[in-house]
Subunit: 199 residues, 2 copies
């Protein structure tokens, strides 16, 4: 297979072949253990071509997920103020994204993740590596507690998204963003920074 790498840079299907290979490898191995080299091998192209088309592994992952936003661009604003009020800023950012155009793509992604185990694995890797791990590192959360805190945060955010955008349960579906911020912000704040020593 090595002898064939790089032979089809002009093939219009190359991009799709790389994305398909990326989905397969990311879902099989998880984000951290998936290498550009392995993805290139499955797609039967040169690794340099993968970088040329998609940039970094993070960027390739976003493209493979068809992610409507890049968390790396949104997280700095949320995390800039440190831990004080981070729960409220996080809810406000999420509503800003999902109340807008990206929300439609997000709902499609969530539907796919709920009905398809393979998409669920990709979705889980996306949440864990692209959103939560970055947030935990920036907020200097105790690494021993980070996985549980991450999971608690993810559960409240997932439930908000389900009820506001998918199931559309009132009054959550139509409530002003600031009502949601005021009621759920303290929940995220506690999950991120509260005392969990009894657990």
């Amino acid at each position: 297979m090595a002898g064939r790498t790089g032979r089809r840079p002009g093939n219009p299907d190359t991009r799709e072949a790389i994305l398909g290979a990326a989905r397969s490898v990311f879902a099989d191995r998880g984000f951290d253990k998936a290498s550009i080299r392995a993805i290139a091998s499955v797609a039967d192209v040169d690794p340099a071509l993968v970088h040329h088309y998609f940039g970094t592994k993070d960027q390739l992952f976003l493209a493979a997920m068809e992610a409507p936003i890049d968390p790396a661009e949104l997280l700095p604003d949320v995390l800039a103020g440190g831990v004080d009020g981070v729960g409220e800023r996080m809810i406000r950012m999420i509503l800003g994204v999902w109340d807008g155009q990206a929300g439609k793509a997000g709902v499609a992604l969530l539907r796919s993740a709920v009905t398809n185990d393979w998409t669920a694995r990709l979705f889980r890797e996306f949440i864990a590596t692209q959103v939560l791990r970055r947030a935990m590192t920036e907020l200097e959360v105790d690494p021993g507690e980070a996985p549980l805190r991450s999971g608690l945060v993810a559960s409240q955010i997932a439930g908000l998204i389900m009820m506001r955008y998918v199931i559309r349960l009132e009054p959550i579906a139509s409530a002003p963003a600031e009502s949601i911020v005021a009621t759920m912000g303290p929940t995220l704040q506690r999950y991120l920074t509260g005392d969990l020593s009894g657990v």
Copy 2:
């Protein structure tokens, strides 16, 4: 159509016809405005036959939803102790149901609700009328605040179910039930009984 009611009590399809009519009417009108008479009319049977086959409107709704459990049987234990510790008891009951056999049917129901608008409407009615409204009434929550408090509770529960049983994000997926109770119980407690006056 009235002249034909009651003509097919022995038809083996009658049960399915009633369930299909019930799904359609409950989804169209919502639980409260759906009448046994309207459902019987759509199914083209006598209303007495609907009662004979399925009992009360609540029971017909559970059958139409293929609900694996009856909230009316589980809620009294959760609510019996009053508001003190009700958040923790609610999480413990949910995990007891979903960690068991009923959880598999629950995941199937949730998948259907997420991908099908019509099932989403039924699911929303189920949560609102069979679970949350009963809980709010028993706990004597201020009726003006009950809808928002209900929605907040539903969002945390939905997120827990998504992450533990559908997306299977660790450590939420494998955490001992009591860890989840200890971390999420206070969230439900605040949503049910905390001060929301700033909202």
